[in-house]
Symmetry: C2
Subunit: 102 residues, 2 copies
């Protein structure tokens, strides 16, 4: 079973290339998370929000990672972190060309 974790939070800081440089080391660390298939990094400079969409291969790792990442974001000074975990409907997702592997 595959699970989506979606996380977003107010972010009034750097975006784009600057963000990519600042968080490259963290991204390489996140890539090694148990159970993580991929993470897409999201940002909205107009609404001053950022976040991520994650695909996990099991629910426990999605929940474990959410706890860990929330603590990390709070340690960075972020608050009002919004997160939801969903099961993926794989049959429908395949029909809409989703890539559920990496």
């Amino acid at each position: 079973m595959k699970y989506i974790l979606q996380v977003d939070f107010p972010h009034d800081g750097i975006f784009g290339e600057e963000m990519a440089q600042a968080f490259a080391d963290l991204a390489q660390d996140i890539a090694k998370e148990e159970g993580l298939i991929w993470k897409i990094w999201t940002e909205n400079e107009t609404d001053k929000e950022a976040g991520g969409v994650y695909l996990f291969d099991n629910e426990n790792d999605a929940k474990r990672y959410l706890d860990k990442h929330t603590q990390r974001l709070e340690s960075f000074g972020y608050s009002n972190i919004r997160a939801k975990i969903f099961k993926v409907n794989e049959a429908l997702s395949v029909l809409t060309n989703a890539t559920l592997e990496n």
Copy 2:
């Protein structure tokens, strides 16, 4: 530039295989949306929510589709539809193994 659209809403109905059967035709129609790379269908039977995460290859199509899909969901009787559009930070997403093509 790639864009993520995340949509979710209260859903107290069918899930899993039943959902897959009921929405297979709609999924085949959504697969043809201009600018859509993929959609992942999401559901949470415990919290009674459902939704989708979409990857688009441009912002205009993400916004156009969100308007269209919101109207469709409302015509199905859904309300309290929550949606956000984000730009993808591609450099960071590549480091975390994201698949931004189909």
